[in-house]
């Protein structure tokens, strides 16, 4: 899989260099864009910085906004490492949110942390189930997981909407949402007067777990083998179909966790549109983070900062839309892919010239030995 070979980081320096350069370039491009529309880039960037990194409150906002993207991106990266594209994290987030809410609404009031634990467990299972469906279809029916996982997003969004508008509807409410959960059911806030909650800690644990799973366990070894060469994996006795199913379920589990953190930690209730395309942005975060959990943490923080900064921009700099930050986010990912593509080209060229030198060295010997496989 070419994209895997290109995107996957091989060294820490390589993992950091290209994304950082890409982000700098993206911000520079946005500065040019701001000048073109007659705004002052310094002022705009200043207000963005203030709103995202300027003080502890801003920083908390950035982290809070990074969390759902981070957790979902971890799952997406795990799938890509196995050669699978889980495009449906958004739907898995919604299923996680709905499952967590169901636990809170139906379980009795229990001492903390029982309800959040149960709710998170339910969300993980729901997300896993929502990822397992495309996984099973891919493994045993050969259906492309990109299509099915994406389609299931819309099913999940409608299920969430149905729950809010029919069984859990509040009569006379103007916006579809449940009642706020009691504090016994919520993830505690870490920094007072912000939304930063225990979910951030869970996200860090999830990042470590994802790294450990892929890079340290037997399951991870088989997963990477399937991602690298599914046919050879089958020849080596790995149950490739089962791996496809399991990896998609695990990928969905991460997104389900992201959904429960958003509902139990940030919103404190289920509300229509609670995930603002976090699951889709997570794909970009996974690629920008070069599929490595550490890189993904960095990329998610960048996206969180841009999100927080965009809100600040809207209020501070007149005439500048917050959508400018989405341009910055998109350009970052675009530049990373371009940069990595160029890097790969150089690598190929170096390999080719090394191979040529090698041929010249061994030419005489080989001509005498006389064997050939090159007509492929």
């Amino acid at each position: 899989m070419r994209i895997l070979r290109i995107v996957q980081a091989r060294s820490l320096a390589g993992a950091v260099l290209v994304p950082v350069a890409a982000v700098v370039l993206a911000l520079a491009s946005v500065a040019v864009l701001l000048m073109l529309i007659g705004a002052d880039p310094a002022e705009a960037f200043g207000s963005m910085f203030q709103a995202s990194l300027g003080d502890p409150h801003a920083l908390s906002t950035t982290v809070t906004k990074a969390v759902p993207r981070l957790v979902a991106a971890l799952g997406i990266a795990v799938a890509i490492r196995a050669g699978l594209w889980n495009i449906g994290a958004e739907g898995q987030i919604y299923m996680g949110g709905v499952a967590a809410t169901a636990v809170v609404l139906f379980a009795p009031e229990l001492p903390f942390p029982l309800i959040p634990l149960l709710a998170i467990a339910a969300a993980i299972i729901a997300g896993a189930a929502w990822g397992a469906i495309p996984g099973a279809l891919r493994a045993w029916r050969g259906v492309n997981e990109v299509i099915t996982s994406l389609m299931l997003v819309y099913v999940a969004v409608q299920i969430s909407r149905y729950m809010l508008e029919v069984p859990w509807a509040i009569p006379g409410a103007t916006f579809p949402s449940t009642e706020p959960f009691g504090s016994y059911a919520r993830l505690p806030i870490l920094v007072p007067a912000t939304l930063l909650n225990l979910g951030a800690v869970l996200a860090v644990i999830a990042a470590i777990a994802a790294w450990y799973l892929v890079d340290r366990t037997r399951f991870g070894l088989n997963l990477r083998a399937v991602g690298g060469n599914p046919r050879a994996s089958g020849f080596l006795g790995i149950r490739v179909k089962w791996m496809i199913f399991a990896v998609m379920a695990i990928s969905g589990a991460f997104a389900g966790l992201a959904g429960s953190i958003e509902v139990l930690g940030v919103r404190g209730r289920l509300i229509e549109g609670f995930s603002q395309a976090y699951g889709f942005e997570a794909i970009a975060v996974a690629l920008l983070g070069r599929l490595h959990p550490a890189g993904i943490v960095g990329a998610a923080l960048l996206f969180g900062a841009l999100d927080a900064g965009g809100a600040g921009l809207q209020t501070a700099a007149r005439g500048v839309s917050s959508s400018i930050v989405q341009i910055a986010a998109g350009l970052s990912v675009g530049y990373v892919l371009v940069g990595l593509g160029i890097q790969e080209k150089f690598r190929e060229r170096r390999r080719a010239s090394e191979a040529l030198a090698d041929t010249e060295r061994t030419h005489g010997v080989e001509a005498a030995g006389g064997s050939s496989e090159a007509s492929r």
Partner: protein, 514 residues
């Protein structure tokens, strides 16, 4: 080179001539000092096993790769074929194994696109007219207004031929044209090619199928290990002779003495009336019965596509056994997954090393323990024991002479010989009961080939039962104790190696009864 007395219509000078052409790739000489020519109105078959250098040679003629040395003359004039565009401009067309048609467009639309890429702009309606005209003239039977994806593979192939003809091709190269189509479609194609030849088109037909080449071609050139073994008029050629030329007849029974027959022990692998599916929905192996014993190397001979690979894969558990039974040391193998067979002592060196032999994106150390990942030595409670994995790799790298900087190097960066050493190290270090090796020396240099042979004999002497599939007679005659010959998926013969001659094997491989 007996080319003069063929019965083709031929006017003096060749249409195309290759002179002393040499082409090397990293580590291999794909073509070495090859002389080959083609006359107008001639079907010239280029025969050889996989890796013999056929496609490289044709690629040079079509401008896909540039030779290191040598000349190509077109109508007596030396030409520099630096790209397919140049070749097309001269009237050289190439129908590759994988078609270059856009499935969602009609045949006529594909033709229009293809003409546009060579600078000629025509409307779709005009394209349809030309498709009809060419189709009628050469009996191609290709509908102009049907999407390519709705055509049969044979029709798609003929659409490719038509595309080349529309560019006034005078030389047409076809790469293994019959390997992808049904026998009926192959017969139709043969008729088309004969018609084209009668209109003066020169045709290079790449193939490894003896029967087909003898039926269609006027002249036959055989390549082996990148060299031209010889060119024969079809009238002088026979299946036996061609098979010998393809696989080499250098070895004699005397060479077999180099590997003294071992004392074969008890039956280990019993294959009883086994059939195994092949690709394209046909049976790859049909109703084969044989026994292989401990401490012997059983050669599995056959020309490419005779069922050797399917047999090995069926026994290794990566292809189902459709009927019959295979048993290992008295226990049934049918239905057991590949991993369970590995546990019971089956080692498999697969035919397609790059595609199925190892995982290029994993390190050497990881590759070496992939089949053993659930062994307590290498993982505990599902967590890999990295120290043990690395140490295991270090010792195997030394023992199997894998030339590499260290165990963490990605397997995909190794050269062919080192990749095969990696596969051997992984498979043979598990002390297998049965070793299934397919084309284990294909594409390897001399030293690596020797290393493979040595390892195989070591396994035999240690009491393993080895099935060794090869298309090289030399190798089979020197390495094995007994040879079974496959032809079209059935068992064509079985004989002790000391009694075998290359002529006899050639006959059996070609499908003639011994």
């Amino acid at each position: 080179m007996t080319s003069e007395e063929t019965q083709t219509a031929r006017s003096g000078d060749p249409l195309l001539a290759v002179e002393r052409l040499t082409k090397t790739y990293p580590g291999v000489v794909a073509n070495y000092e090859i002389d080959l020519d083609l006359f107008a109105g001639e079907i010239h078959a280029v025969l050889g096993e996989n890796g013999a250098g056929k496609t490289t040679l044709m690629g040079a003629i079509y401008g896909l790769n540039r030779p290191d040395s040598g000349r190509i003359r077109f109508e007596g004039v030396e030409v520099e074929l630096d790209s397919p565009r140049t070749a097309l401009g001269l009237g050289i067309g190439y129908v590759q194994q994988h078609f270059s048609l856009i499935p969602t467009l009609t045949v006529a639309e594909n033709l229009v696109l293809s003409l546009r890429s060579s600078g000629e702009k025509v409307a779709v309606r005009e394209g349809e007219r030309r498709v009809r005209e060419l189709s009628k003239r050469y009996g191609l039977d290709v509908p102009p207004d049907v999407s390519v994806e709705n055509l049969s593979v044979g029709q798609q192939q003929r659409a490719e031929v038509l595309k080349a003809l529309a560019k006034d091709a005078r030389v047409l190269i076809l790469d293994e044209p019959t390997s992808v189509v049904t026998p009926q479609e192959a017969a139709e194609l043969a008729a088309v090619l004969q018609r084209l030849a009668s209109e003066g088109v020169g045709i290079f037909l790449i193939s490894h199928k003896l029967e087909e080449v003898l039926r269609i071609a006027h002249r036959i050139s055989v390549l082996r290990h990148g060299r031209l073994v010889g060119t024969l008029a079809a009238s002088e050629a026979s299946q036996t002779r061609l098979a010998e030329m393809m696989v080499g007849s250098l070895a004699t029974a005397a060479d077999a003495a180099a590997s003294p027959p071992s004392a074969a022990g008890d039956p280990v692998l019993v294959v009883d009336h086994v059939s195994i599916p092949g690709d394209y929905g046909r049976l790859g192996v049909r109703d084969i019965t044989f026994v292989a014993r401990a401490g012997e190397v059983v050669g599995v001979a056959g020309v490419e596509g005779s069922g050797q690979v399917e047999l090995m894969e069926g026994l290794a558990g990566v292809r189902p056994i459709a009927s019959g039974t295979a048993s290992l040391a008295g226990e049934l193998l049918n239905g057991l997954p590949a991993r369970e067979r590995q546990r019971r002592g089956v080692a498999h060196v697969p035919a397609d090393r790059l595609g199925t032999g190892f995982v290029g994106t994993l390190s050497i150390a990881e590759n070496l323990i992939l089949p053993l990942a659930d062994d307590d030595r290498f993982s505990r409670y599902g967590v890999m024991r990295r120290q043990a994995v690395t140490e295991h790799a270090r010792s195997l790298i030394a023992e199997y002479d894998i030339r590499v900087a260290g165990p963490d190097v990605l397997a995909g960066t190794l050269s062919g010989g080192n990749q095969q050493r990696l596969v051997l190290a992984r498979e043979l270090s598990r002390s297998p009961v049965v070793v299934l090796a397919s084309f284990a020396t294909r594409g390897l240099d001399f030293a690596s080939t020797e290393a493979v042979h040595r390892r195989i004999l070591e396994m035999r002497d240690a009491g393993a039962c080895v099935l060794y599939a090869s298309v090289e007679l030399d190798e089979l005659l020197t390495l094995t104790d007994r040879i079974i010959v496959l032809h079209h998926g059935t068992l064509a013969g079985e004989l002790p190696t000391v009694e075998a001659t290359s002529e006899q094997l050639g006959l059996l491989m070609g499908g003639s009864a011994a």
